[in-house]
């Protein structure tokens, strides 16, 4: 089915089932229990899981397959977001044109950037992409093109939102007091269906499922790329580009194609971000945002299929859940200890939660880079191997005893 091998197909099906039932799976604790703050099954966070999953899957096509480390992918996400919001301002609040435009525009810009940056490799490539991304960030942050032509392109510091007065040529004009909402042929992104079962509350959000569908398509495409001759060529670039060049093969079109594809994935993620939350600001283009997608990809497992999705999920979960744990919560956790001891533990843990959650991600990221270059996926594989081997060894031990 879908022209996939059996193992890939089962992976795709597992991912599809997980995303389909995510509102259940991510909500393991009843709504009014003390553990409910660890629930991740609310629409906003689930949308982020899948959208940043798309972003990381796309980044993995470039970094995982070709080994070119780009530090500027957030710029493409930002460009996609701006394209989407302009579609919503000018054409219609329907998300389809917005998403198509975000992918196309991000593809064009990434073609331009990639065409120039890919003339160099290694650290130079990283710094070129960094320079391009910072340039685009500055252009967006101060809205230079807007100033140049006497209008608004990126809205500068305030960013852009769809307004009632915008000339949406395909839509019927809105009432003056109305709030323009993103929709898919009338189905609003924010609308959700709530299901209450004995203390649990599950939310099924339209926007989440649309984003999840996009993520599954993106994931399927990435599997196909990984298994295709094109993907093979990209891996060859990673392992020895020089040798490839000596055999008379020009690797540039392949790396450029990978760059543009990953830029389009980033654009898709940016467009979806706007579809879910109709506003955009320049800060999502800053270079540390590019660093974030690098962290996601590495954390999950660079070069593996499922790794980036996993990494994006883990990082966004930590961002939202760890940052919610404050000192008060810690005090209730450690209240069973004697006073001095609990103060000590609270002080230690407090360094890693709440506003300081970045420390935790930084430390985990460093540990992964140092000890687990293959990320969580490799960690899981190693654990699996260890269990299998210890099982085998036990069998070996029993044999001589016969």
């Amino acid at each position: 089915m879908f022209k996939l091998e059996k193992s890939d197909l089962s992976l795709l099906i597992i991912v599809a089932v997980l995303t389909l039932f995510a509102p259940f799976i991510l909500n393991p604790f009843p709504a009014d229990s003390a553990m409910s703050q660890f629930n991740a099954g609310y629409p906003d966070l689930m949308q982020r899981f899948v959208i940043f999953g798309i972003f990381a899957v796309g980044f993995n096509i470039l970094f995982g397959l070709t080994g070119y480390l780009s530090f500027g992918h957030a710029a493409f996400l930002g460009v996609g977001s701006y394209a989407a919001i302009w579609m919503m301002k000018l054409l219609t609040m329907n998300v389809i044109p917005a998403i198509v435009a975000s992918v196309v525009v991000a593809g064009l810009i990434s073609f331009l950037v990639g065409w120039i940056s890919l003339r160099r490799s290694g650290i130079y490539f990283s710094i070129l992409t960094l320079a391009f991304a910072m340039m685009m960030y500055q252009l967006a942050y101060s809205d230079l093109f807007g100033q140049l032509f006497g209008g608004i392109l990126t809205g500068g510091e305030t960013g852009l939102q769809p307004k009632v007065a915008d000339p949406r040529i395909l839509d019927a004009p809105l009432d003056p007091g109305a709030n323009p909402k993103a929709h898919l042929f009338g189905l609003e992104m924010g609308s959700s269906f709530k299901l209450d079962i004995a203390g649990w509350q599950f939310t099924f959000n339209a926007g989440y499922y649309i984003a999840a569908f996009a993520m599954l398509c993106a994931f399927y495409l990435s599997i196909r790329i990984f298994r295709s001759p094109f993907g093979m060529m990209l891996r060859a670039v990673k392992s020895n580009q020089q040798r490839m060049n000596y055999t008379g093969l020009n690797s540039k079109p392949y790396t450029l194609a990978a760059f543009v594809i990953s830029g389009m994935y980033a654009g898709l993620a940016g467009g979806l971000l706007v579809a879910m939350d109709t506003q955009v600001g320049a800060e999502r283009m800053f270079w540390t945002a590019s660093g974030e997608v690098v962290i996601m990809t590495i954390l999950g497992g660079v070069g593996s299929l499922i790794g980036p999705v996993l990494g994006a999920g883990v990082l966004k979960y930590m961002e939202n859940i760890l940052s919610k744990i404050n000192k008060g919560v810690l005090e209730t956790w450690f209240s069973f200890m004697p006073d001095g001891m609990s103060d000590f533990f609270i002080a230690i843990t407090n360094l890693f939660v709440g506003k300081q959650w970045h420390i935790t991600t930084g430390v985990i990221f460093m540990l992964v880079v140092i000890y687990l270059p293959g990320g969580l996926v490799e960690g899981g594989r190693r654990l699996g191997n260890r269990f299998q081997r210890s099982g085998k060894e036990r069998q070996n031990h029993t044999k001589p005893a016969e």
Binding site: L130, M134, I295
Partner: protein, 343 residues
């Protein structure tokens, strides 16, 4: 003419900061072959050394002053810094006033220690790993360091003034024969430039004229052969990492009166200093210094009102534009050598 001189001067202090950070970065590239994304964090730690020292110096205890009354008629409570008890009031005040220059002494051992610990504890394990891994692990370290500083010092910029003697500005124009009040330049920026020149000169003469420096240069050229000659080159490179960290840290200490330090100043400077290094040519120390000053001055020229009137906003993108053009036309940068970081 006076406008040009003013812009050159304005560019010098920013250029000095770029040059100092890029110098440290290049020292680490050249010796250890490591791409250090945590170098901006070292700059920031240096700046916070100054903050810490000025906080330590102003530590005070409360004394009841019987001679003065507050508005309720009770004896007035006065905060007296401990340095007043130790050195007397006048010397104590002078010490507090000179906190930033004193922090230089305070920062040197701390920064060398931070650098050596970083190298021995973390970076040592990454010599044989690809550059991408080095970038990633030092990027992680930079995040951690930045957030730890944010945890202890808060997210707001902390003003750290220069000594009173250096406040105010120097009428540079009048001194060289232009109209007064045309070219005005703050004293501290002159000092910053002079300081940068001293440090850069110091590092170069250390490498050029001492035996230690000679061995380090030999190791930069061919590490293996130097090792085969029975010289413990790793230990010397570790020390050079400490020196590079100290250079970045001192640049940070002296920068505090120009810009109040905040926790993300390291990340802000990091990208620019990488651009500087690449423009100068990776692995070339004179290239890093030259490109630092060049880009600083270009940036200040681009922010002239006349230039902005022609191309608005050019001041914010000029550095990146120049970097992209240089990387594409002169792939090795201005003064880069062949074969450095080209795999």
């Amino acid at each position: 003419m006076d406008a040009i001189i003013l812009q050159v001067l304005n560019g010098l202090d920013k250029g000095s900061a770029y040059a100092l950070i890029a110098l440290g970065l290049t020292l680490i590239f050249g010796t250890l072959g490591v791409v250090n994304f945590a170098h901006g964090a070292l700059f920031m730690i240096g700046a916070f050394c100054a903050v810490t020292l000025s906080r330590i110096l102003t530590l005070s205890h409360t004394v009841i002053d019987e001679t003065r009354k507050d508005f309720l008629g009770n004896p007035l409570k006065v905060d007296v810094p401990y340095v007043h008890d130790l050195f007397g009031v006048e010397t104590g005040d002078a010490i507090i006033d000179w906190a930033v220059p004193l922090s230089l002494l305070f920062a040197i051992p701390i920064m060398i220690a931070v650098g050596v610990i970083m190298e021995r504890g973390l970076i040592k394990h990454f010599y044989k790993r690809p550059h991408a891994d080095q970038i990633l692990v030092t990027f992680g370290l930079a995040i951690v360091l930045q957030e730890v500083i944010k945890y202890f010092y808060g997210a707001n910029p902390i003003p750290t003034p220069a000594p009173a003697a250096f406040k105010g500005s120097f009428d540079f124009g009048a001194a060289i024969g232009f109209d007064p009040n045309v070219i005005i330049y703050p004293y501290w920026r002159i000092i910053y430039f002079g300081f940068a020149a001293v440090i850069i000169g110091g590092v170069f003469s250390f490498l050029q004229f001492t035996t230690f420096g000679m061995v380090v240069r030999a190791g930069m050229a061919d590490r293996e052969t130097v090792g085969l000659l029975g010289i413990n080159i790793d230990r010397r490179f570790t020390i050079m990492f400490g020196v590079a960290a100290a250079v970045a840290g001192l640049a940070g200490v002296m920068y505090t009166p120009i810009n109040s330090p905040n926790y993300h100043m390291g990340m802000d400077f990091l990208v620019l200093s990488f651009v500087v290094v690449v423009v100068g040519g990776m692995g070339s120390l004179p290239g890093a210094v030259l490109a630092g000053f060049l880009l600083g001055i270009l940036e200040s020229f681009a922010s002239m009102r006349e230039v902005i009137a022609i191309i608005p906003g050019i001041n914010q993108v000029i550095i990146y534009l120049i970097a992209i053009i240089i990387l594409l036309t002169r792939p090795r940068g201005l003064m880069g050598r062949k074969g450095v970081m080209e795999d």
